[in-house]
Amino acid sequence: MAAVKVTADTFEQEVLKSEVPVLVDFWAPWCGPCKMLSPVVEQLADEADGFKVASVNVDDEMDLAEQFGISAIPCLVVFENGQEVRRSTGVIPKEQILNLIRG
């Protein structure tokens, strides 16, 4: 399954109320490193087992970025039971993203 595109309207339903942990990729189209990370995130979305993957375009969703204190991208944030549990800023390899999800 591809990463779910999430907006301010769907964030609560898709992320905060999710039964499984959610990896959220905060990105923007002008951000080079984001474009580098996105394919890896998409790959994880396809293989996701026991978690799901969502993406937020911060250009379109400035309020969400502000709400979660995103001040650098790419930023990966893991939510469990409606709470942020871990985050990582910058490009990291797939293995490290999996570690971020697993905790």
Partner: protein, 301 residues
Amino acid sequence: MKDLIIIGAGPAGLTAAVYALRAGRSVLLLEAKNYGGQIVNTPEIENYPGLKSVSGFDFAQALYEQATGFGAELVYEKACGIEDRNGIKAVLTESGHEYEGRAVIIATGAKNRPLGLPREEELIGRGISYCATCDGMFFRKKDVAVCGGGNTALEDAFFLSNYCNKVYVIHRRDEFRGSAKDLEKLKTRPNVEFVLNANVTDLIGDAKLTAVEVTDKLTGEKREIPVSGLFVAIGQIPDNLAFTGVAKLDGSGYIEAGEDCRTGTPGVYTAGDCRTKEVRQLTTAAADGAVAALAASSGLE
């Protein structure tokens, strides 16, 4: 075993891969972070010969595809040492693997120099940034500070002054290394305030940055400046300490090597920003990659 192991998949390492592969050698690239290196953060490159304008990401992507198209293999692991085993080089990685090659090119590049303050790393993405053009938009209408006195610091401060409520420029001296023209331009900005002869001595804020403590170098007086962002632009540092067994480093940590890219250890070469050199530019990194790859290749004959 590969003919050539290249440590670092930035412009120097990827160019070296292209040249070595075209010379018929097999190549393994080891990359700790992302291919492309620092250039992926550059919005527009306008000084690469033959390309009028290209984004850093597009450039890196094209070079990566060129190298892998010729058959380069890339593994995302951080090299942490090189051992010589009867002429065969073994590159050890932090993941605990080792890769053998007949020759090695060290092309680890350079990274942004941190201030070296406690909690600095923890606050990256929570107010601390090393790239104004990447992260500036998140500080729209907010108060921020730029630390540094070179071209990057001045350009960053100018860029940020377009969006931010207030921009403090904190610099340890009262003179700037950056261009006089940029400084004059910056001085015309009503929302820019210079804090000179001052060091950032503490980062304040729990979950995110809320203020910086600056210490006046002349009077020793400390004060807090409330900011939600601090952009650190105090130059670059190399990352070569893992290779002191096979290469000599200068006082700043760069690998001592001339334009021939030879380290002095047979079979070990170096290319790009990690090498001692006068000009660190995209073109000179690419040039080094070619020189090192052809030297390594002929050394294998």
